[in-house]
């Protein structure tokens, strides 16, 4: 037996080990993401405030970032009174500062996705005319790639979910978009349902 063959086998095993490790991580991430969606599908009936619902959505947003290898992620809600999108949930480097920040409802990539009610992947934002560098400049952030998913239910815009900066300088793709679209739908339905339930309760209380 030549040492070359042994070395080859050893390398091959190391490669397989690494591949299996990555597969195991993807497996776990996907399972976690899907399972966390269930809590939103079933727990929403018991939720009594938007704040509590956002805590649940926040967990799913975090697991979506994990599966998709995104460095940052945020959820923006539409404020119909001011026509602005407000950063309500933020994960990543600027989470402390960005929370509560507002942009116009048609500003930048998020605004584009919101007004068209269409998801959008932009892997080279600085070469895209729709990109606004305002947030980057204000918060000393650098956006390399964007995956943007509007939250829409029955044709009505609720807000936008954004993932930013895929790790290892990788690019967001269609499969990523499909995966995030699920959270977009679930979150939109849950937020809308809660809203109409709270409204109905308010009407009931007023009439009593």
């Amino acid at each position: 037996m030549s040492p070359t063959t042994l070395r080859f086998l050893q390398q091959e095993n190391a490669r397989l080990q690494e591949e299996n490790k990555i597969l195991r991580q993807e497996n776990l991430g996907l399972r976690h993401y899907i399972d966390s969606l269930k809590s939103l599908a079933w727990a929403t009936q018991q939720i009594t405030s938007e704040e509590n619902l956002l805590v649940l959505i926040d967990q799913i947003l975090f697991s979506a970032m994990d599966v998709l290898n995104a460095e940052s992620g945020s959820l923006l809600l539409l404020d119909e009174e001011t026509d602005e999108l407000a950063f309500v949930l933020v994960h990543g480097d600027v989470e402390g500062e960005l929370k509560g920040y507002r942009i116009n409802r048609d500003e930048g990539i998020a605004g584009w996705a919101a007004s068209r009610q269409e998801p959008l992947v932009v892997n080279n934002p600085r070469q895209d005319p729709r990109f606004h560098a305002t947030v980057d400049e204000t918060f000393d952030f650098f956006t390399r790639s964007i995956l943007c998913m509007p939250m829409v239910t029955r044709g009505k815009l609720i807000g936008v979910i954004e993932l930013l900066n895929k790790r290892d300088h990788d690019e967001f793709n269609d499969a990523d978009l499909t995966l995030l679209s699920i959270l977009g739908h679930v979150a939109a339905i849950a937020l809308e349902e809660l809203d109409s339930r709270l409204e109905a309760e308010e009407v009931e209380q007023t009439s009593n």
Partner: protein, 203 residues
């Protein structure tokens, strides 16, 4: 260690890793299919008002869900509040031709339990579960080996039940519950839409 012993060890290790690799690949593939189907279910739910043949669409979705889960049978039944019965409307699998239109009391079996509790239930060993009813098995010469039941909710009330039966490999999992729950939500939207259309037609 001699070269031969080292070789043997590496080869054994390689066989083990390759086997593990195949299992993991298959699992990841399945989970990606779940993600695809979940996205499709929500897309359909979103567009339900624009779909012409809602029943065909639901039948297809039920088929897809059963396939991705790796089960062999499944059904959608709807509560008839006037008679207190569950009526089988859509059926996939071995008794697809016979079961539609059949009615059971709405408090019978695992379906009845799921309906009254308003939450999903996995029964991987129906023979040993007091909630299980043999009525459909005996009537249609069917063999139920495992059940995943999920209520169809509309405005917070259960109005029907989806049952996925007989997973081919392993037990039903929590991931399966998520998928069928989302199908349940879509069916809830669809039934509401159909009721709206029927009302509009009657006026």
């Amino acid at each position: 260690m001699s070269n031969t012993a080292a070789l043997q060890m590496f080869q054994q290790e390689r066989t083990r890793l390759e086997k593990e690799n195949r299992v993991l690949q298959a699992e990841v593939l399945t989970l990606r299919q779940y993600v695809q189907l979940l996205a499709e279910l929500y897309r359909v739910g979103q567009q339900i008002a624009t779909i012409e043949n809602v029943w065909n669409t639901l039948d297809q979705l039920l088929f897809n869900v059963i396939k991705v889960i790796g089960a062999s049978d499944g059904s959608l039944s709807r509560l008839d509040a006037a008679t207190g019965e569950l009526e089988f409307l859509l059926v996939q699998g071995g008794i697809r031709q016979q079961l539609p239109g059949y009615r059971i009391k709405s408090d019978v079996g695992v379906a009845g339990w799921v309906l009254s509790e308003g939450k999903p239930q996995i029964v991987n060993n129906p023979g040993q579960d007091w909630r299980f009813s043999l009525q459909v098995d005996q009537e249609f010469k069917f063999l139920t080996k495992s059940i995943l039941g999920v209520p169809v909710m509309y405005q917070n009330r259960p109005i029907g039940v989806i049952q996925i039966l007989n997973k081919q490999q392993g037990d039903f999992s929590e991931t399966d519950v998520t998928l069928v729950s989302v199908l349940g939500q879509v069916v809830g939207l669809a039934l509401a839409e159909l009721a709206l259309r029927a009302k509009a037609e009657a006026e």
